[in-house]
Point group: C2
Chain length 227, copies 2
DNA sequence: CTTCAAAAATGGGTCAATTCATTTTTTGAA
DNA sequence: TTCAAAAAATGAATTGACCCATTTTTGAAG
């Protein structure tokens, strides 16, 4: 039976990844050495490379773990979405941002994004790009759900709209991460403002936009209070 | 007079930067060594570090040169903008993309963006972030010009709108750059489509502003599996 | 023309990621 | 149990970015 071998191998992989995660989070990416990771995982430095292509690969592998979690949260929201589209999208995208920052800080996110770009051709690099694609598609799914309930025009191209809204979120997140002194609240405020504008359109005069009822969305996260 | 000294120093800086640019473009960022740059610039390796903090610094310094050029092109467009806002923004943003690719290819752009993220705290890293900000502001300037001519509602927040539209452009550019096999034309097509949608808004009734759009196709991509 | 302090250049040293030839361990079969 | 092939682990060697103590060059005052 190969299962023992497979289990041991998987275990070692997990050990190395766990060690890397602890050190990356504690000391940062640059100040963590492969040798340190190997030591903590009780293997030789060379062994790390039997499981991961590079130091950056380790980092992206860590992020890939969280990716599933993020999408699960989103799926739950889509199952029972807020009636107002703006509020629903705000909530979904805010969830992405919050979740991203639970385990990984700004500094690490800079390294993650940088690595994802330089390693775009490697499996984990592609995986990262795909995660972005999946999240954009999840936004699209949310829009489609709202569309089904008559909260959005049937003519709306949900795919494209999802990409646009996710792009807004992603850009804000990147700007936030790049600037050590930008507070999360400020970033969210700008993001919510832009999400609203995308829904209403740049051409439409401000008041006209809401299609069905002129009901001024009450339950909006209009004033998200200081966090 | 110190001008001779200053001139020589500036000259050496230029030489090093020029050498770096040639080698980066010819061999790529990773395959170019500081030693190679030093040799081509006829200086010792250590001297490079008297002018630039790191290899990445050299790369960002190169991009900073082009930044001015890009904005000059945009300024010309703003002086005599197309009457239609969508066409005007399309033109401006397409200009950004085209200009970015004149001297630097996808592979190098991946390194540029990655370096800008990891070196966000250094002067050139901040300079790169500021360039993004300036370009977004230029989009805003274009919108303001159109607003002055009555082509856009006076209620439009041009600043925010500029950021949104630039975010759309930037995200597409990043996706394009990350995927070696994505053709420029495909990226532009998607970008133009999204720019139009941002102008029209996601909740606007479709008939209002979309004259020639095909019916949305049946969902070709459904959520793959319940994970 | 000297001299000297500041500026610049130098290149050998350090450190860490990555590679790879070699050794050790595991597996399934005899 | 024993054995040979395959898989995995190993750690020393390679490589290249970056640092820094030292040397060289510069500018202008005497």
């Amino acid at each position: 039976m190969t299962s023992l071998r497979v289990r041991q191998k998987a275990g070692r992989r997990r050990d190395i990844l766990a060690a890397a995660g602890e050190l990356f989070r504690r000391d940062g990416f640059d100040r963590t050495s492969i040798e340190g990771i190997a030591e903590r995982a009780a293997v030789a430095p060379g062994t790390v490379y039997n499981y991961f292509r590079s130091k950056g690969d380790l980092l992206l592998a860590l992020v890939a773990l969280d990716g599933e979690e993020i999408r699960a949260d989103g799926k739950r929201l889509i199952a029972r979405p807020p009636a107002d589209p703006v509020a629903a999208v705000n909530r979904l995208l805010e969830g992405y941002v919050d979740h991203a920052l639970v385990y990984l800080d700004k500094r690490l996110w800079r390294n993650i994004m940088a690595t994802a770009l330089t390693q775009a051709a490697t499996p984990f690099g592609q995986g990262y790009a795909e995660l972005d694609g999946k999240l954009a598609r999840q936004v699209a799914d949310l829009l489609a759900a709202l569309q089904d309930r008559g909260r959005l025009p049937t003519t709306l191209r949900c795919d494209d709209a999802g990409q646009i809204l996710f792009a807004v979120c992603n850009t804000h997140f990147m700007t936030f991460v790049a600037q050590d002194d930008m507070p999360l609240a400020a970033m969210k405020e700008a993001m919510f403002r832009h999400i609203r504008m995308v829904f209403e359109g740049l051409i439409a005069p401000a008041g006209t936009a809401t299609p069905e009822r002129k009901r001024p969305q009450a339950d909006e996260r209009r004033e998200p209070l200081a966090t």
